[in-house]
Symmetry: C2
Subunit: 390 residues, 2 copies
């Protein structure tokens, strides 16, 4: 397994005040500043950033409006602007959606064809315009990851592409910028971070016990910090743990030394939910995880039991299957404790039979792929899980 995390991270209070310095290091002269809601402008954050660019003599163009589950159409608009204005660097100010959209612009800006080709697998990225990140939401880990996930409004398809070209050149991580994140988004972020590590934990090959124990230490801290951040949104230490855990969960560290990739079925199953119903990714993951876990745990119950032993301190009972089920139930309990759903109804979705068929069709790329590694899922397994998750 290769491990490559070239992103330069500045962590701590006032990290965003090093934007100018970082852009100068990147020799950026014309920058697209990409963001989501106007809150980053109203909060004064944008001015703090543009003041630095002005000081450095760096030209910039603003492009806001990124939505959760970022849309292809807006990214394409970004690509047009980059070409028109001869822009050479993309600065993402926001959370995972903004970063993923910026990465999409980065791919498209150096590609002659349709950028969606990379997301459908029709083409492989051979380069990308560089991006930098000022993070305002701890969740997706996109600030250090090689991943970009985009939703195409035509067909509601949500697809991802992974390549080292999209790893941001820098990421400025100031936990204080996440004080204003709502309780709901804080919970969603907590789940998302946990799931990025859990997906890797449930690989099917051999790996390092070092990586396992780092993963469990991280998940434990995320659970603890998620609760603390809900109780006190301005708890710096909790926000800092969540922010750094977000980056470490998705930068490759949590799969280092594994000889196989992780499971990732829950992520793919969730993509179809949020592609159709536009639910929050973290909430969607929480709503599907336990059902997935109970569907697959018999493949290797001791893996779930091991997680329970070191994460929750459960002494082995002698019955590994029971220990596995106890771990799954404890995880559900945790999700409930941070007001996250553990099934689709709690998520606010009650799919019809036709919708279950459609979900399984889309998740299986119309029967062209399987999902998962811990247990390989066929289209009928996917439908079973969706149905059982209601």
């Amino acid at each position: 397994m290769d491990y490559y995390t070239p992103t330069k991270v500045v962590f701590g209070k006032d990290a965003e005040l090093r934007t100018g310095e970082m852009l100068r290091e990147q020799n950026a002269t014309d920058v697209l500043i990409h963001y989501g809601s106007e809150r980053v402008v109203k909060s004064g954050l944008m001015k703090k950033i543009t003041d630095q660019l002005d000081k450095e003599g760096i030209r910039y163009t603003l492009l806001g409006g990124v939505q959760p589950n970022p849309r292809l159409a807006l990214a394409k608009k970004g690509i047009e602007i980059v070409r028109e204005k001869n822009i050479g660097f993309i600065l993402a100010v926001g959370g995972g959606s903004v970063i993923d959209s910026a990465k999409c612009i980065g791919y498209g800006s150096v590609y002659d064809g349709d950028v969606w080709d990379f997301y459908t697998g029709k083409a492989k990225p051979a380069g990308a315009m560089k991006t930098g990140v000022i993070l305002t939401l701890s969740a997706t880990g996109s600030e250090m990851s090689d991943s970009s996930v985009i939703t195409n409004d035509e067909g509601g398809l949500k697809r991802g592409v992974n390549s080292d070209y999209s790893r941001p050149a820098f990421a400025l991580l100031n936990p204080e910028l996440t004080y204003s994140v709502s309780p709901y988004q804080t919970s969603c972020g907590t789940v998302d971070i946990m799931m990025h590590t859990l997906e890797r934990f449930f690989h099917s090959g051999s790996g390092l016990s070092l990586t396992d124990h780092l993963a469990i230490a991280l998940i434990g801290e995320v659970m603890d910090s998620g609760k603390k951040a809900l109780a006190n949104p301005e708890d710096y230490d909790a926000r800092a743990n969540l922010m750094w855990a977000s980056s470490l969960s998705h930068n490759g560290l949590m799969q280092a030394g594994n000889d196989q990739r992780g499971d990732w079925a829950c992520h793919q199953l969730e993509h179809e939910l949020s592609g159709i119903w536009d639910v929050a990714h973290g909430a969607g993951l929480a709503a599907i995880w336990a059902t997935w876990a109970r569907y697959v745990y018999k493949e290797n119950p001791s893996r779930f039991a091991f997680l329970g032993e070191f994460l929750f301190g459960f002494a082995p009972s002698g019955n590994t299957e029971n220990d596995a089920l106890r771990t799954i139930a404890a995880m559900e309990e945790f999700f409930h404790s941070i007001n996250m759903p553990i099934n689709l109804r709690e998520l606010g979705i009650n799919p019809t039979d036709e919708e279950l068929d459609l979900l399984a069709e889309k998740a299986s790329f119309f029967s062209k792929r399987t999902l998962g590694a811990f247990k390989v899922l066929q289209k009928e397994d996917m439908r079973n899980i969706y149905e059982a998750a209601i």
Copy 2:
């Protein structure tokens, strides 16, 4: 605290077979292959490497002979060769000494003055020729670190320099290449890895509990794997944990989010020991640590107690000072269990009064610097620790 780990890591069996591919990626055409003992030639490893360079049409020059505590004189010879032959990339095949020597050559090759200037602090690096690593010893973490430590035979001065320019471009980590590491060197490496994390753990500022718990998870795995590798030198999992822990202990992860640097007094105190007596770095660290710990723990006993609680599972007794002392004793017990010394006599050194004076003089840069952060040590403190460590 900035976090920057650009080194591309290939981890696992046969990792060294990707040397050609990595050098091609770096556009290397003329390479200096730097190594230590002739064992890497006799074992067939060197041929595996040069075969790939031949295949890629990459020219190379061999420079072996790096000793433990690598010498400035040999690095200077390397710099001459690089200049003469117009070499553009340095490939280190070995452990920390070889890598540190390669980094020194890297600095000197792009600098007009005396490369020792960087190690004395007379000059600051403004660049370096790139290096790549094929690792054969898990210990120093130099394969991902920004650090290079060199010994100048004139005066027996051992000095280090840190800069991001020296972080290797790639590191190929095949745990099997460490099967032949001797029991003694395995133990020294185990201590060295633990100490890189412990030095950072004993910072004086504020930090992330996430980083604390990752650190303790790592130290626990290193202790466990060190014992297993001694019992069975060809235990792949144990060797793999040690190798990856070596990189993670010194690449910055174990200090991420800390607002102050770590303590590092033990490292500096040990440098003077190995500068004079040429002892193994890891053994020297083990011989000094507990004495240092008992000298400083009252500054913040709860930090030692916290380590004991999560590393050794010691329930807090209500008396934090006792808990701290219990942690220190447990660490000594561990060092003994892997046949490491816990004082200077066990290390084979019994310094005279004059030698104690000299050690303190050198460690304090002749009274020009203090050491440590957890507790700031003056020259007399350094002498006290050396003396108490006998």
